[in-house]
């Protein structure tokens, strides 16, 4: 939260009410109503045909694969799948909408209900999910505005949540959860920046404890998690300021401006369009037979929640790590590969800690490093962890070696040798070094003997500095304590 947020009395006075509408592009081979291929970043208007460019006389034919994908999503969020649903036309004029209407679902969507559980346990119920086609893109340039219809007709599912999200953080968490689900299902890239996963937010405030919802604003143009949180915080405080000043919040569609970090009014409710919905006469009703749904159900992969629970139970890792590791299907499978390939003696929680810590930190700092294109391969990483687990090197040295593996590549054992990081556990060597330091630090030894036991850390520090710091800390502690104990007796 911003500083202003902490100072504002909002938390005591109002409750934010947030509902999200998420559009996911389904990654089917072809578009929703024609056989044009869909692929990102092609030459403009290269993936178009009479159907998706709205020529006179053409008719839509529903892509069955897209329907299967949509069913997967409905099953994954435990929603009700309507055995009969209806496509409808949503009508408005815009150059990137070639037919002058979008084929979508209106009063009879294929899916209703369901929900998503957040890490803290809160359940966000969904209103509905429906299938629809994407519009094209208007491309603005110095020479004028052009229309690219490559995107027109790409299948979308729109996932509408109930207004039960109560903070920007929750909104962001909810979105990440949805994204994890669509990626687990393999039905959508979940890429906000490229627009394959898009979000509009409805925000209103109500007096704390009240059941009556306030006037609501819809925010558009949210193309990153950061922008979503920022825009919601901004919008909540904008509305709170209005209410505090005794003003009315106008029902509006507002646009997030990432450059100025503010939302601005796009249109008022009075100007809102009448979409003149009516059933699409070119498509029959969509019938989803039980057999089709149950065979898709049987093919669903293990989803994040189930996987998380299994990790907790089977691997004895902590809850937070289980959430991180299952937030991404590829990450979870990377982790499980490490678990499967490890030697018996390597404890799984250590792997979890290192993956969630060092590995992800380094990976996220490097855009080219993905779980499909690993900078540090799993077997090398395991080798390093074995060294740490066997106390061949210290944790600290392990981190240093990992950084070197990231920077230079190479084998951890070679790097440990080269950097002389091997941990010394031989007590006779340790004892020799400790004796030298104690000999040089008479004053501190006297202090220690007179009862100031804090000085112990000084001896540890001195030994590590003098010797390069690769003594096994546990052995070092033991040896030092023994030596000081002896001096006490003298």
């Amino acid at each position: 939260m911003t500083k202003r947020a902490q100072n504002n009395q909002l938390t005591g006075k109002y409750e934010p009410v947030i509902g999200l509408e998420v559009h996911c592009q389904l990654k089917t081979r072809t578009k929703l109503f024609c056989s044009c291929p869909q692929s990102f970043a092609q030459t403009p208007n290269s993936n178009v045909c009479p159907v998706c460019s709205g020529a006179p006389g053409v008719l839509p034919v529903l892509n069955k694969k897209a329907v299967d994908y949509a069913i997967k999503m409905a099953l994954a969020v435990g929603a009700k799948i309507n055995p009969e649903s209806v496509f409808a036309r949503k009508q408005y004029f815009y150059p990137d909408l070639p037919k002058g209407y979008q084929i979508t679902q209106f009063d009879k969507p294929y899916c209703e209900g369901g929900g998503v559980r957040l890490a803290g346990g809160k359940y966000i119920p969904l209103t509905r999910i429906h299938l629809e086609e994407d519009a094209g893109k208007s491309v603005h340039s110095a020479e004028g505005t052009f229309v690219d219809l490559n995107r027109a007709g790409i299948p979308l599912i729109e996932i509408v949540s109930e207004p039960s999200i109560s903070s920007p953080q929750e909104a962001s968490e909810y979105l990440k959860k949805l994204r994890a689900i669509v990626r687990y299902l393999g039905i959508c890239d979940g890429n906000l920046e490229e627009g394959s996963f898009r979000c509009d937010a409805n925000v209103s405030l109500k007096p704390k404890g009240s059941k009556k919802l306030g006037a609501r604003c819809e925010i558009k143009n949210l193309n990153s998690f950061r922008n979503i949180e920022k825009s919601l915080v901004y919008e909540i405080y904008r509305q709170a300021d209005l209410l505090d000043a005794g003003q009315r919040v106008a029902v509006q569609t507002r646009l997030w401006d990432p450059a100025l970090s503010r939302t601005k009014a796009m249109r008022d409710k009075e100007e809102s369009e009448d979409y003149r919905y009516f059933p699409e006469p070119d498509l029959p009703r969509l019938f989803l037979e039980k057999e089709r749904v149950s065979s898709i159900d049987a093919s669903l992969p293990e989803l994040p929640d189930a996987k998380g629970e299994r990790f907790l139970k089977d691997y004895l890792i902590n809850y937070e790590e289980s959430q991180i590791l299952t937030s991404d299907r590829d990450l979870a499978s990377f982790f499980e590969t490490l678990v499967a390939k490890r030697s018996e003696s390597l404890p799984i929680p250590l792997i979890a800690r290192w993956v969630c810590g060092e590995y992800l930190r380094e990976m996220r700092a490097d855009e080219a490093w993905t779980l499909k294109n690993l900078r540090v391969p799993g077997d090398k990483f395991l080798l390093l962890l074995e060294c740490v687990a066997q106390q061949k090197i210290s944790q600290r040295a392990g981190k240093k070696v990992f950084k070197l593996m990231v920077a230079e590549g190479g084998d951890p054992l070679d790097l440990i040798r080269r950097e002389k990081l091997e941990q010394v556990s031989d007590k006779s060597i340790i004892k020799k070094a400790c004796e030298e330091i104690l000999h040089k630090s008479k004053a501190q030894v006297d202090e220690y003997l007179s009862g100031k036991e804090k000085v112990f850390a000084y001896f540890v520090g001195q030994v590590l500095r003098q010797t390069g710091g690769n003594f096994n800390p546990q052995s070092l502690n033991e040896v030092l304590k023994e030596l000081l104990q002896e001096k006490k007796k003298q």
């Binding site: 006179p56 036309r89 150059p95």
Partner: protein, 482 residues
């Protein structure tokens, strides 16, 4: 056989069998139609596109296919196609300024099937703009005249197609029927016109007007030719999700009609608005069926009084949506005026590109779908539609076919409905029922009015997917009547 003008012309069947026997016959046929179209076509104004070079090209392709011994059930059959159906290589104007120079990049499924069967697309025919009208006067290219009497309208909206067959410019034609647009001009011009069951012929490539009502229909001078062409164009198409999965209509199967077993219902509600001369001709047809031993009964269907308003609500609602794509943005006419905004581009291009009747229907359709009015109009109309469907289903439990005049009057004078669109709309009173309920319906010539000397049409309606029965009855009637 002779056509309605008394000219001795080849039937479609004669052309097909002749072309197969004698190669030079194809040239003879095409030369004949070509010179007739050039000579008499412009006055009737039934063609929006006719090109000798396009014809020559098709002719040479066909010659090669005949030599290659391809199976060509329609070899050399000249067909005219309503200019709201896409034919690759020919313009698709819909008789509208907004599509004046538009060439489609594909052919309609029905056209593809005709061409595959060896037919020759002889030209594109004039119509009411976007098929909206009942007289073929609302065309950017001027009105179509009735070949029978050039002071009269040809009917509409497929007036050009009806006139092309009636005028002897081709033996068969494709039209489209949303509320009577094949049957009414067939009746006015004295030819046969069939609107098949909804879903029988693919709508892919037919410029949409009222998608839930539109159906490609066929014109001919006799039932055999009508069957021949319907056989070629019908059948499921995976490009049209509303096309029906039934086996395609077959011209080979001939139901032997036993008239004494035929149960005929006379739709009395459609006689009420009819003029005396039409009723007189219709009474003769009714008499004919009785004399042949058919069981003829009067039928009353009170819900029919709501069919025209319900039809105009549904048709205009769908039309307002279907015509949104003509916006000047991607293809077609864009206003040349100074356009300061996107909204201005839309407004100017559409206001200047669409004619009066189309504009009227778009506005009406947008209104009946708008928030706060949709319940009152569009929703209510769909309820009426359901009532009509259950009503007609009940009738077909009792009757094999239903009969009525195709139109309340014979062809009216050009220009006579200019100021009163509603009086024009009411001329669809007998025909919209078949579109609202999806059943097949056919208009067959039923004599000539004593008063106007213009043809009268008999409308025969059968239950869904019973085109076969419709053909047998019409063939039986056409052979026995007169």
């Amino acid at each position: 056989m002779t056509n309605s003008l008394g000219e001795r012309l080849w039937t479609g069947e004669e052309i097909v069998s002749g072309v197969k026997e004698d190669r030079s016959f194809l040239d003879q046929v095409l030369n004949f139609y070509c010179s007739k179209i050039k000579k008499e076509g412009p006055e009737i104004n039934c063609f929006t596109f006719f090109s000798e070079s396009a014809l020559a090209q098709q002719q040479s392709v066909l010659r090669q296919r005949i030599e290659a011994k391809e199976d060509l059930p329609l070899a050399g059959l000249p067909v005219s196609v309503k200019d709201n159906i896409a034919v690759e290589g020919m313009p698709l104007t819909c008789a509208s300024k907004i599509l004046e120079n538009y060439y489609p990049s594909y052919s309609a499924t029905a056209v593809e099937r005709l061409v595959k069967a060896g037919a020759i697309i002889i030209g594109k025919t004039n119509l009411d703009e976007f098929a909206m009208g009942s007289s073929s006067e609302y065309s950017y290219f001027g009105p179509v005249k009735n070949p029978r009497d050039k002071r009269k309208v040809s009917g509409g909206s497929s007036g050009g197609s009806a006139a092309s067959v009636a005028g002897g410019f081709c033996p068969v034609a494709l039209g489209s029927d949303t509320g009577g647009s094949v049957r009414q001009p067939a009746s006015f011009c004295g030819v046969l016109g069939l609107k098949p069951s909804y879903g029988r012929v693919s709508r892919y490539g037919l410029t949409a007007f009222g998608s839930s009502l539109d159906q490609i229909g066929v014109f001919a001078n006799n039932s055999r030719d009508l069957s021949l062409i319907l056989n070629a164009v019908s059948g499921q198409d995976k490009k049209d999700s509303t096309s029906s999965a039934l086996p395609p209509f077959s011209a080979e199967k001939h139901e032997s009609l036993q008239p004494e077993k035929l149960k005929v219902g006379i739709l009395q509600d459609f006689l009420k608005p009819a003029s005396a001369d039409v009723i007189e001709s219709f009474a003769k047809a009714e008499e004919f069926f009785k004399n042949q031993g058919a069981q003829v009964q009067d039928v009353f269907f009170p819900e029919l009084q709501y069919s025209v308003p319900a039809y105009y609500i549904i048709a205009t609602a769908e039309a307002s949506s279907n015509l949104s794509r003509y916006d000047g943005a991607r293809y077609g006419f864009r206003s040349k005026g100074r356009l300061n905004s996107l909204g201005e581009m839309y407004k100017q291009s559409r206001s200047q590109g669409f004619g009066e009747e189309v504009t009227r229907r778009i506005i009406l359709g947008a209104f009946v779908l708008s928030e706060g009015y949709s319940d009152k109009y569009y929703q209510k109309a769909t309820k009426v539609r359901k009532l009509l469907l259950s009503g007609i289903n009940k009738l077909f439990d009792k009757y094999d076919i239903l009969l009525s005049p195709t139109t309340p009057t014979t062809a009216f004078d050009l220009g006579s409905h200019g100021q009163d669109p509603v009086s024009m709309y009411s001329s669809d009173v007998c025909t919209v029922l078949a579109n609202l309920t999806g059943v097949p319906s056919l208009s067959v010539p039923c004599g000539v009015s004593e008063k106007t000397k213009m043809p009268v049409g008999l409308q025969i309606i059968a239950n869904r997917n019973q085109e076969q029965k419709l053909m047998s009855v019409s063939s039986f009637f056409q052979q026995g009547f007169c």
